[in-house]
C-alpha cells in the first residue's frame, strides 16, 4: 500500500462572498500522478496556491509527508520538497536559461558551480540545453513551459504541482511534455496536475479529482470519472449530456 505524500483535509477559501474552494479533501500517494480537473473558475489554481503556501486557507489542513504545512510560507514548503509551476509562466526574463534553473538548484546545493552542473543536466533532460546561454525572455511559449518545469524540477521535489503546463501548446509539443512528465514521474516524483488538455490528463493520471464551484464532485480512475453524470453535467451543462469530457 502506497502511503499518501499529500493529504488535503477540509480545505476552504472564500474571496468576499465567493466560495472559491469548499471543504476539499483528497490524497496524492507516493509516486502517483493525480489530475485535478474542472471547468474554468472551479478553484483549481486556488487549491494550488493554498498547497504551495501562496494563499492561506480559511479552514482545513494540508499534510505533506506527514507534516502539517498549512500556513507555511512558499519557500519553506518548497524546501520540504513540494514544488509548483505557475499557470502563467514566470521566467526570470533577463536572466539566462541556465541561470533560471540554477536559482532552483541553489536551494539544495549552495555552491553555484555545482548548482549549475545540476541545472545543466536538467536542461538536457527537458531539451533546452542548446538555449542555456540565451535570456529566458527569448524563448517561445512552449520553451518557457519547459523552463518552468525544469526550474521546479531543479528544487528536487518529492511532489510536483503542475498548473496547465500544456495549455496553449501544439499537438507535438503537448506530446513532448506528456512524455517528459511521465519520465519525471518514473523517477519516483509524485505529480498533481491541473490540466485542460483532456487527452493528456486522461492518459497520464492514475486518479482524477474533479472540482466544480470549489467542491469535489467526483474522484476516481479516469475512465470511471469520465462517465460520471455529474462530471459530464459540470462540463457540458444540464440536459446536454451527450459526450464525456474525454
Amino acid at each position: 500500500m502506497a502511503r499518501p505524500v499529500l493529504e488535503v483535509r477540509g480545505l476552504s477559501k472564500h474571496f468576499g462572498g465567493l466560495e472559491a474552494v469548499k471543504d476539499l479533501s483528497f490524497d496524492v500517494d507516493e509516486g502517483q500522478i493525480v489530475g485535478l480537473i474542472g471547468p474554468n473558475g472551479a478553484g483549481k489554481t486556488t487549491v494550488f496556491a493554498m498547497l504551495s503556501g501562496f494563499l492561506r486557507p480559511d479552514a482545513g489542513e494540508v499534510g505533506f509527508r506527514g507534516c502539517a504545512i498549512t500556513g507555511l510560507p512558499p519557500h519553506r514548503v518548497n524546501a520540504l520538497g513540494l514544488a509548483r509551476t505557475f499557470q502563467i509562466v514566470r521566467p526570470f526574463l533577463h536572466l539566462s536559461v541556465l541561470r533560471n534553473v540554477t536559482v532552483g538548484a541553489l536551494g539544495r546545493q549552495p555552491r553555484p558551480r555545482e548548482a549549475e552542473r545540476q541545472a545543466t543536466a536538467i536542461l538536457e533532460e527537458v531539451g533546452l540545453a542548446t538555449k542555456r546561454e540565451q535570456p529566458a525572455g527569448s524563448l517561445t511559449l512552449a520553451e518557457r513551459k519547459r523552463l518552468e518545469l525544469a526550474r521546479a524540477l531543479a528544487t528536487q521535489p518529492v511532489l510536483l504541482l503542475l498548473d496547465e503546463v500544456m495549455a496553449g501548446l501544439g499537438a507535438a509539443e503537448t506530446e513532448r511534455i506528456v512524455e517528459l512528465v511521465r519520465r519525471i514521474n518514473r523517477r519516483g516524483i509524485a505529480i498533481l496536475l491541473i490540466e485542460h488538455v483532456m487527452r493528456a490528463v486522461m492518459s497520464l493520471s492514475e486518479r482524477l479529482v474533479v472540482l466544480n464551484y470549489g467542491e469535489r464532485i467526483a474522484e476516481g480512475r479516469p475512465e470511471a470519472v469520465a462517465g460520471d453524470p455529474r462530471v459530464i453535467e459540470a462540463y457540458l451543462g444540464e440536459g446536454d449530456a451527450g459526450a464525456a469530457p474525454a
Binding site: S52, P73, H75, N78, F86, F92, H94, V103, P112, A115
Partner: protein, 314 residues
C-alpha cells in the same frame, strides 16, 4: 576587459603624481560617489529594491563619526564602523517595514524617502548635534583623526573605498546570495516558489548596503569638515547616489563606476560654469536630460552597452 581594468587602475594610482589639485578633487568625488553608488547597487541594482533614501545612511555615518570624534575623542578610523553599524540598524528597520509588509515599487521608494526625511528633520531639531547649524570639524591635519593636509591622501582613500566596495559586489555576484538577488529583482513570487527566502535576502542586501553607505559617511564628514542636515540627509544627495548606477547600469559591477566617471565631472563642471553665470542649480537640468537619454537609448545603462561594444571589437 580584465586588462583594461588593470591598466585603468594603474593610471589612477599614478595620476596624483601628474595632475593638479583641482583635477584631484574632481576625481575624489568621482571615486566617492562611485563608492556610494556601488553600495546602493547591492540593494537597488542587484536586488531591485529602489531606495531613494540612502542619504539617511550617509548622514548617520557622518554624524556618528563626527560626534564620536568631537565629543569622545574616538578616532574616525573606528567611528566609521560605529557609523556603519548604526546605518545598518536603520537599514534593517526600513527593510523590515518595507519587506515584511510587501511594499514594492513606488511604495518602497516612498518609504525610503520618508525615513531619510525623518532623519533630516530630527537632525535639524536636535541641538545636541548642532541643529540647523550643523557640525563643524576643526582641521588639525592629524591622520589619526582622519585628517590630512595633503589632498592626495583623500584621493587614495576614496580610490580604496571604491575598490573595496567593488570587491564586495564582485564577491556577492559570484555567490548564491548574488544570484538570488538578481532573481528577486526579476520575480519575487517565482523565487519563493523555488525555495528562496526572499525576505531574508532582501534584508541582507539592505543591511550590507546601508552599512557600506554609513562607512562612507565618515569620509564625507572628514573630507568636507562640515555637516548640515539639509545636505547630508537631503533628497538631492539620495538622488546623486541613485543616478550614477542607473546611468552606468544598475545591477552591474561596472555600472556605478562608469556612471560616476560620466556624471561626477559633469556635475562639477556644470555646477562651476552655471554657478558663475548665476544659474546655480542648472546642473540638475543636465542630469535630467542625461537621465532621459539613458532611459530612452540605454535602458540597462552605459556599462552593459560598453561591454558589448568591447566584446565585438575583441
Amino acid at each position: 576587459m580584465r586588462w583594461a581594468a588593470l591598466a585603468a587602475l594603474g593610471v589612477l594610482i599614478a595620476l596624483p603624481a601628474v595632475v593638479g589639485s583641482y583635477t584631484l578633487t574632481v576625481l575624489i568625488f568621482v571615486f566617492f560617489y562611485a563608492y556610494l553608488g556601488q553600495a546602493w547597487n547591492i540593494v537597488g541594482g542587484y536586488a531591485g529594491q529602489l531606495s531613494v533614501g540612502h542619504a539617511a545612511f550617509v548622514g548617520i555615518g557622518a554624524y556618528t563619526a563626527a560626534m564620536l570624534s568631537l565629543g569622545a575623542g574616538l578616532t574616525p578610523w573606528l567611528g566609521m564602523f560605529v557609523g556603519g553599524a548604526l546605518s545598518a540598524a536603520l537599514g534593517a528597520v526600513i527593510g523590515y517595514l518595507g519587506f515584511r509588509f510587501g511594499l514594492r515599487g513606488f511604495y518602497f521608494v516612498l518609504l525610503t524617502v520618508a525615513f531619510a526625511e525623518i532623519c533630516r528633520i530630527v537632525a535639524l531639531n536636535t541641538e545636541a548635534i548642532g541643529g540647523a547649524q550643523g557640525l563643524y570639524i576643526t582641521f588639525t591635519g592629524n591622520p589619526r583623526q582622519f585628517q590630512f593636509p595633503d589632498n592626495r591622501a583623500y584621493y587614495y582613500i576614496a580610490l580604496g573605498l571604491m575598490l573595496a566596495a567593488t570587491a564586495v559586489v564582485w564577491t556577492i555576484e559570484r555567490k548564491r546570495f548574488g544570484i538570488y538577488l538578481t532573481a528577486i529583482r526579476e520575480d519575487e513570487d517565482a523565487c519563493q516558489a523555488l525555495g528562496v527566502d526572499t525576505f531574508k535576502y532582501k534584508m541582507l542586501a539592505m543591511v550590507v548596503s546601508s552599512f557600506l553607505t554609513g562607512v562612507g559617511g565618515t569620509f564625507y564628514a572628514f573630507y568636507l569638515f562640515s555637516l548640515q542636515p539639509n545636505t547630508v540627509f537631503g533628497i538631492p544627495l539620495s538622488v546623486e547616489i541613485v543616478i550614477r548606477p542607473i546611468v552606468g547600469g544598475a545591477g552591474t559591477l561596472g555600472g556605478p563606476i562608469l556612471g560616476s566617471f560620466i556624471l561626477s565631472p559633469l556635475a562639477e563642471l556644470s555646477r562651476f560654469y552655471f554657478a558663475r553665470g548665476g544659474w546655480s542649480g542648472a546642473h540638475l537640468i543636465v542630469y535630467g536630460g542625461l537621465l532621459i537619454l539613458v532611459v530612452l537609448f540605454l535602458p540597462q545603462g552605459a556599462y552593459p552597452y560598453l561591454r558589448r561594444l568591447l566584446a565585438r571589437r575583441a
